[in-house]
């Protein structure tokens, strides 16, 4: 008997196979049948049944803890399994991020969905395939080595009748551990992986058939809205419920500590109630002055130092150097800026909580919701539903926390949809980054020392505390979780003396979290801009200078291909543009080996700087990318284009603003992002290495964008931009200070 079958409460699941399991997963809530399911469906990461089920109809259901946040991994992961099992793509269905059904493969972050999650699926599939061949061998009386798989069926290589997966295992469990010795297919035989398979979700998304989290409705559901404090640290003193008594749809005003929300029968009723509700809050004005942010960062207490690389004796070398350079870089606070504000639905029945959420980390959210409401984690089920792109830990988990408190208060399922100002005001922020760099060059123009100090919050990934739990005074994490932001603080270049230190700060002005390429982007901005400063200081071509100090054949090959792609003209920066009117043109280069152990990216930016207005235009980016084995080339291109464009936006335009109490950039007018006329053309060369491991591609190409632009601006006008965003005011100020 199949464990899968046991979870379903509906008839015909056995016959229906994959498709019905999906409908179960999407529609079902916590129920007695579910409680049984959670006991029986394996979610173990070391068991084939954790990841795969094959129905009697031969259809394959994949249970993926990694989720598609809009990057296309639903399609890529489906390709990996279809390839390994030799079944057509349309026979494979992927269930994502359901704590009752999918293994905890870690949150969907860090460019690990394919590199880690996909490889677990590949190994599970290889194990399953090996087992299916053994079953077929017994059934057909032919040695497994004399069998072949085609279209989900196994037959003798010499010909003869085939037996389908459905007949071999349909409706039964594998009851197998992942076998690390089960050899995945030879990549040279791939017919699905490595192809630009069209994304599975796009037809529904362009015709209004797709159900996003924001579209989801459950029976008996009410609508909730939150009423946040006017200041980040203000506490709730009193609520005037009379102020909303004329709202006909209102069900309840919910107050718990400083958590305040409204629940109404209709969505518009909830919106109106949230707007009209009068509440008195305490004063609070403890944010640092925005204009003195980096003085504040520099003065913040350091809780520890992480030395991320240490070679030779930097201080000694700097003293002996013929010439020394130093510079300070900073990078503004950014918001995720999801186009769809965060949303969740929570239902609580008999002490069992079901949460529908676009969270990138449903298994972690489950623990957070359980802790907040003092439930056992086994009584919480979080089910992933695609939301708007989140680019990291945005407000989705917080919306889930809000919905949980409101649902508990009214005893009915509640949908919480954040408004725009909730998202811009209360999503956790990418923390400010301050970086001091020093280097020394000897009399022959050789770099003999590189030293850097990064001022960044303490903490790593983990769980970002839920806003609702914090406001309500319910159990929550108290540690900072800015992401693994010390990555790429060390450099890929070889110098005789190197020391890179991350000063981990005990606090940061806003609740931090990770936003695409956390730390790696900021650190690479400083490193790759400063390496350019060194190249300029010794009169070297920026590309030649990097190649000279690189001892990494794969990196060298990448940079050489970048030079060819961008038709790189070898010469030192800045170029001499005599006369030439207001517009100066330049090109700049940047390189990263992501986390110094995986994906390689090189980029060249072309820029046009308007000397008079200080405005920067980026007409074109060239990118060369090596993430090893490519699963879906067009999906990869789509992701890289997105990284380039989003990061041009962050580099040129984006900066959270605030007064002493609250974020003031609460909409798209006050937090502008890139628009169509400013979007650069992106020219790409993807290096495919089918026989290598696939590495992550979600983030790495974003890391090189700010530095490439900064270096291109230097090339154009001889001015270094060391502070993101590169606003016209900063460009003009830098120009005047030469």
């Amino acid at each position: 008997m199949s464990d899968i079958i046991a979870i379903a409460t509906r008839r015909d699941v056995l016959k229906g196979g994959g498709a019905l399991i999906v409908s179960f997963a999407l529609a079902s809530r916590f129920s007695p049948a579910f409680a049984q399911a959670s006991l029986t469906k394996s979610v173990a990461t070391d068991e084939v049944d954790g990841f795969l089920a094959i129905g009697a109809d031969g259809k394959v259901t994949v249970f993926s803890g990694k989720v598609d946040l809009g990057t296309g991994v639903r399609t890529a992961l489906t390709q990996i399994v279809a390839e390994e099992l030799d079944v057509p793509l349309d026979k494979v269905t992927l269930i994502q991020g359901d704590t009752a059904l999918t293994p905890d493969q870690g949150p969907t972050y860090g460019s690990l969905s394919i590199q880690n999650g996909g490889m677990q699926l590949r190994q599970a599939s290889a194990t399953a395939r090996k087992h299916l061949l053994e079953l077929a061998s017994q059934k057909l009386g032919v040695a497994a080595s004399d069998l072949m798989v085609e279209n989900g069926a196994i037959k003798p290589k010499s010909g003869g009748s085939a037996v389908g997966y459905g007949r071999l295992i349909g409706g039964k469990t594998f009851a197998l551990k992942l076998d690390k010795d089960a050899k995945p297919k030879d990549p040279t035989t791939f017919s699905i992986v490595g192809k630009s398979v069209a994304r599975l979700d796009i037809p529904d998304k362009v015709t209004g058939r797709f159900t996003y989290m924001q579209d989801m409705r459950v029976d008996g559901m009410l609508h909730g809205r939150v009423v946040r404090p006017w200041a980040l640290g203000a506490s709730l003193e009193s609520v005037d419920e009379n102020s909303v008594k004329d709202i006909p749809d209102l069900v309840k005003v919910v107050r718990e500590g400083s958590f305040l929300g409204v629940v109404a029968k209709s969505e518009w009723g909830a919106i109106k109630a949230a707007r009209k509700l009068k509440a008195t809050w305490s004063n609070w004005a403890e944010l640092p002055e925005q204009t003195k942010l980096f003085e504040h960062v520099r003065a913040t207490k350091i809780s520890k130092d992480d030395v991320t690389s240490n070679v030779g004796d930097v201080e000694d070398a700097i003293q002996k150097g013929a010439k020394s350079l130093k510079a300070t870089y900073d990078f503004a606070i950014h918001t995720h800026g999801s186009i769809g504000p965060s949303c969740a639905i929570v239902e609580i029945n008999d002490g069992q909580l079901t949460c529908w959420t676009p969270s990138q980390a449903t298994h972690n959210l489950r623990k957070q919701l359980a802790a907040m409401l003092s439930l056992g984690p086994e009584n919480v089920r979080c089910i992933y539903v695609d939301g708007s792109g989140c680019y990291g830990r945005n407000g989705h988990e917080d919306a889930a926390g809000d919905a949980a408190l409101l649902a508990r208060a009214v005893g009915k399922p509640v949908r919480v949809q954040w408004m725009r100002e909730d998202e811009h005001g209360w999503d956790p922020k990418g923390p400010p980054t301050l970086i001091d760099l020093r280097a020394a060059v000897d009399a022959q123009g050789e770099v003999i020392a590189w030293e850097s100090q990064f001022f960044v919050p303490e903490g790593a990934a983990g769980n970002v505390p839920l806003v609702a739990a914090s406001l309500a005074g319910l159990p929550h994490e108290t540690t900072l979780a800015p992401g693994n932001i010390i990555q790429d603080s060390a450099i890929p270049y070889v110098f005789a003396n190197i020391r890179t230190t991350c000063h981990r700060l005990a606090e940061t002005p806003f609740r931090p979290s990770w936003i695409r390429t956390p730390g790696r982007m900021q650190n690479t901005f400083a490193n790759e801009s400063f390496i350019d400063e060194l190249a300029a200081a010794v009169g070297a071509d920026p590309l030649e200078f990097r190649l000279k100090h690189l001892n990494d054949p794969r990196g060298t090959e990448l940079l050489q291909r970048l030079a060819a792609l961008a038709k790189w003209e070898k010469r030192p920066s800045p170029q001499n543009q005599s006369g030439g009117g207001d517009i100066a043109r330049g090109r700049g280069l940047s390189y990263v080996k992501y986390e110094l152990n995986r994906t390689y990216v090189g980029a060249v930016a072309e820029v046009e700087v308007d000397r008079r207005s200080g405005k920067i235009r980026v007409p074109r980016f060239y990118v060369v990318h090596d993430c090893g084995q490519i699963i879906n080339p067009d999906g990869l291109k789509n992701q890289i284009e997105g990284n380039v464009i989003q990061t041009v936006s962050r580099t040129l335009f984006e900066e959270v603003t605030w007064d002493r109490s609250m974020v003031t950039s609460l909409d798209w007018a006050s937090y502008p992002i890139i628009t169509f006329p400013a979007v650069p053309e992106v020219v790409m060369d993807l290096i495919d290495r089918p026989t290598e491991k696939p590495w992550g591609a979600g983030e790495p190409s974003a890391a090189v964008i700010p530095s490439a632009i900064s270096n291109a601006v230097f090339d154009a006008i001889g001015v270094r931009l060391r502070s993101v965003p590169f606003t016209p005011a900063k460009v003009k100020a830098a120009t005047q200070s030469i």
Partner: protein, 156 residues
């Protein structure tokens, strides 16, 4: 509860019970009619995710009060523009160009783009970029979106 509001949505007359004529059209479409095409993005008319056609013009439904919509005006949403079986040329072009990442903004891109193409049969790339300048995308799908509009216009 006031009298039901009469609307024409995707070619069909509908009656919707509404107690506040100031409610934006978006909530009727999404909550009363359960349509998924028009999306809530900002509620401020800034991002374009909620765009629908009203008598062929691209309109931001999140800031259009119901009281401003006349019963005979033809409201068309992404669902009414075309279907999987019979997609609008621009919907088909979005599939052909794989012009989606998360897709949350795409309703607005297609509705804005389709309205633009009815009046501009031979647009340049710069024209298209300008026509979509008020629609925000966060994933960075812009280049594909522009190509999709170019393709639907017969320029690719």
């Amino acid at each position: 509860m006031t009298d039901p509001v009469r609307l024409n949505v995707n070619g069909r007359p509908v009656k919707v019970a509404v107690d506040d004529p100031n409610m934006p059209l978006l909530y009727v479409l999404r909550d009363s009619l359960r349509l998924h095409g028009p999306r809530f993005g900002c509620g401020l008319g800034q991002c374009g995710a909620c765009t629908v056609h009203v008598d062929g013009k691209a309109v931001r439904s999140c800031v259009l009060p119901l009281s401003m919509v006349r019963p005979k005006e033809k409201i068309v949403t992404l669902e009414g523009l075309g279907s999987l079986a019979k997609p609008h040329p621009l919907q088909k072009a979005f599939i052909d160009e794989q012009a989606v990442q998360c897709g949350y903004c795409i309703n607005g891109m297609i509705m804005q783009g389709a309205a633009f193409l009815t009046n501009n049969t031979n647009p340049s790339e710069a024209d298209i970029r300008q026509a979509l300048a008020g629609n925000l995308c966060r994933c960075g799908t812009h280049l594909r979106i522009v190509r999709a509009v170019m393709r639907a216009a017969g320029r690719i």
